[in-house]
């Protein structure tokens, strides 16, 4: 489904700012990949670059989705292809209701794909159902998008969007950070319930604890812009026990 080959990325308009230094990653249909790494290793950059954020430049390499390059696509076009990014720090949009925002997002997607837009009635039903499922306080969705939401509320709101938009490739950027155990469980239940042969996940996380609830197929260790190790779920447990120390030493040695 997703193929990343030798991906190099810098920050736009800043010299010598290479963050990703040759990433190779292959995510098959229905798989869950966890990307773990210490702070500053480039995990969030990778998540943002996959979604097409403006302020990064891909200097080398290729990203394909179902065999087609997505490098020239805008974020909205990537979304229309079924990609989704759950943000680490969702932006606050004053005066915009979550309901209105999600309906517009669904409509844009339907329009781009030449599908019929969902009726307001059906959308309302779906929305209410998902609000219940994600456990968002219903008064929250009557407020402005993310404005004044607590960290946990923002993350739940991201999960709500994930559930409504039903993407085929979902990237979760440190969705577990700042969550208490209950919220963590809700996020994990969301992912697990959406797990299907046609849908892949990339779960970016610093800690192993989210992986107690979501069992990944593959775990990658990202250090200093490179994937330094790849393995099964047991790799996450190893990191939990020993930290990233041994990778940091190796990566410094090779640098």
């Amino acid at each position: 489904m997703l193929e990343i080959k030798n991906l190099h990325t810098s920050v736009l308009d800043i010299d010598d700012s290479e963050i990703l230094k040759g990433i190779d990653l292959s995510v098959g249909k229905g798989e869950i990949h966890a990307i773990m790494g210490p702070n500053g290793s480039g995990k969030s950059t990778l998540a943002n670059v996959l979604m097409g954020r403006f302020d990064y430049v891909v200097t080398e390499g290729e990203i394909t989705l179902d065999g087609e390059s997505i490098l020239d696509l805008r974020p909205d076009q990537r979304a229309h292809l079924g990609m989704f990014l759950a943000f680490q720090y969702p932006a606050e949009i004053p005066g915009v209701r979550p309901w209105q925002f999600l309906k517009a997002a669904l409509d844009s997607k339907a329009e781009a794909r030449g599908e019929e837009k969902m009726t307001v009635r059906n959308f309302s039903k779906l929305f209410d159902e998902k609000v219940g499922a994600v456990g968002i306080n219903p008064t929250l969705v009557k407020r402005s998008l993310n404005e004044g939401f607590s960290g946990g509320e923002k993350k739940r709101n991201e999960m709500l969007q994930l559930e409504v938009l039903q993407p085929t490739l979902a990237i979760l950027d440190e969705t577990d950070s700042g969550l208490d155990v209950d919220a963590l469980r809700i996020v994990a239940e969301g992912v697990n319930s959406m797990r299907s042969p046609g849908r892949s996940f990339i779960v970016v996380t610093h800690y192993q604890r989210l992986l107690n609830y979501i069992t990944p197929d593959v775990v990658h260790i990202l250090v200093n812009g490179k994937i330094v190790n790849t393995g099964g779920p047991e790799l996450a447990l190893e990191v939990e026990k020993d930290g990233y120390k041994k990778y940091l030493v190796t990566s410094e040695a090779t640098a």
Partner: protein, 487 residues
């Protein structure tokens, strides 16, 4: 191999297009260009006005001549424009054959009706369905007033200004110039001398007007000025919601619009006045466009309320300060404004709240959006007079910048002469952030849709004050006006 990949932010947005720029080909009855006593007399006689009104016009004209000779055109606003040649303007342009006001819609030139259809004005039966009574002022003449009969049964008068002069001279005599006298300012004097038509509304005591009243203004003739005059009187305990919309065709030469609006809310009355101003803003290079110099003021008597809501997206220049004189105890004044400038547009707009009565209360919410090379100024005055015990004002003044070539300015004046007053002033300036744009685009919205959502959301506190249909129109207008500014 190194390939440089950035996401092009020059998405496929068409350059800011004005969609109301058509010209209607109707024969026009034009008075010669230029301003003189003769022109003032001609306008008055064309309209068959009584002697007292001609006298009033002439006094205004002479006053204006004095101001013009003294070079007293106001220059304190933050706007720049070439000197206006007042002798190079048509002061009277009427569609031919309408010297007599049309008796019914059948008497109206079908081409004109087509124009209004293009404008999306619900004239004819649609008006009734939409619950809107429309008075359309085309160049200077009021074209058709719908639903007059239905309103008549409640004693409500809603007609063109000219008709009101003929049929309700006592009301006009009593209130004309009572809130905005011709001596008020340069443009008010000019308007008083040459105004050609406008709308008149009277709501009898205790009557709540059951529908929104609406006037649509349009300038059609090239080189013509438009000087309409609106007078709204809500008698004791009455209520009315009034909407005003404006468009003008695409012209490379500038057009002058100098209107006057007077509102009178007697004891316990309420007037809600909403405007969508979409005069032609000029080309993206700053050619042409309407110069909009408007004086709007309301008088609020005891326990009354006057509320101005405006969405200003048009005009090359906007100079406009809808105000409320809170002279009655417990009266309330409100001003809700969204002003958007793009390309080379300049807006200097705000309000004056003059607190005279006790326990008077005013609220100001001003949202200025600047894009392109536009310049947006909020200018407001809150004045608490010595007798205004316990007056309260809350002012919120926000600016939003789109791009980095535009300007936003805030000029609040506050004058307090009573120690019991309570005033609050909040101000903010922000930019549409990349984080916000990326967030919305990552969910599938195009860059244009994302901007639109951010801006209408940001303007929500004002737009929600508009009647429903108008709110939709306002939101669409913000979208269209921003085209070409993003990317």
């Amino acid at each position: 191999m190194t390939n440089q990949n950035t996401i092009s932010r020059e998405s496929d947005l068409s350059g800011g297009e004005y969609k109301w720029g058509f010209v209607t080909d109707v024969e026009t009855d034009l008075a010669p260009k230029g301003l003189s006593e003769d022109i003032v007399r001609l306008i008055s006689s064309k309209k068959g006005e009584p002697e007292w009104l001609l006298e009033w016009r002439l006094k205004a004209y002479r006053y204006w001549v004095g101001l013009n000779e003294a070079d007293a055109e106001p220059d304190w606003a933050m706007i720049e424009y070439p000197k206006i040649d007042y002798q190079d303007i048509y002061y009277y342009a009427a569609p031919k054959g309408t010297n007599e006001a049309p008796k019914s819609l059948d008497d109206v030139d079908p081409k004109m009706l087509e124009t209004f259809e293009k404008l999306g004005i619900p004239l004819q039966e649609r008006a009734a369905l939409a619950g809107v009574a429309v008075d359309a002022v085309f160049d200077s003449i009021s074209v058709a007033t719908t639903m007059e009969k239905q309103l008549g049964e409640l004693g409500i008068i809603f007609c063109s200004f000219s008709e009101a002069v003929k049929n309700h001279p006592d009301l006009i005599k009593k209130y004309l110039g009572s809130v905005v006298p011709y001596t008020d300012n340069f443009f008010a004097a000019l308007n008083a001398a040459v105004f050609s038509d406008g709308s008149f509304v009277y709501i009898p005591p205790g009557v709540r007007c059951p529908i929104e009243l609406m006037t649509y203004f349009r300038i059609n003739t090239e080189g013509s000025g438009q000087f309409e005059r609106t007078l709204i009187v809500a008698d004791k305990g009455a209520y009315v919601s009034y909407l005003e919309g404006c468009t003008a065709p695409f012209r490379k030469t500038s057009q002058l619009h100098a209107a006057t609006v007077e509102l009178i809310a007697l004891d316990d009355a309420e007037i809600k006045y909403s405007t969508i101003q979409n005069w032609f803003p000029g080309t993206p290079d700053g050619e042409g466009g309407v110069y909009n110099f408007v004086t709007k003021r309301g008088r609020a008597d005891r326990n009354s309320k006057i509320s101005w809501t405006q969405v200003e997206t048009g005009s090359a220049i906007t100079w406009k300060y809808p105000s409320v004189i809170l002279r009655g105890d417990n009266s309330v004044g409100e001003f809700f404004s969204v002003a958007l400038v793009n390309n080379h547009q300049q807006a200097d707009t705000g309000t004056k709240m003059i607190h005279i009565g006790k326990n008077t209360k005013s609220t100001i919410v001003s949202k200025g959006i600047s894009a392109g090379k536009g310049n947006n100024t909020y200018r407001g005055q809150v004045q608490i007079m010595p007798g205004a015990e316990n007056a309260v004002n809350h002012t919120q003044c926000d600016s939003l910048l789109v791009g980095d070539e535009c300007g936003a300015h805030t000029v609040p004046y506050i004058e307090v002469r009573n120690p019991t007053a309570r005033l609050e002033h909040e101000a903010s300036t922000s930019k549409v952030s990349d984080d916000q744009l990326f967030y919305l685009m990552a969910r599938g919205l195009s860059e244009e849709e994302a901007h639109h959502m951010i801006i209408t959301g940001w303007s929500r506190d004002v737009i929600k004050e508009l009647p429903f249909e108008f709110a939709l129109e306002a939101s669409q207008l913000l979208k269209v006006s921003l085209e070409g500014a993003v990317g």
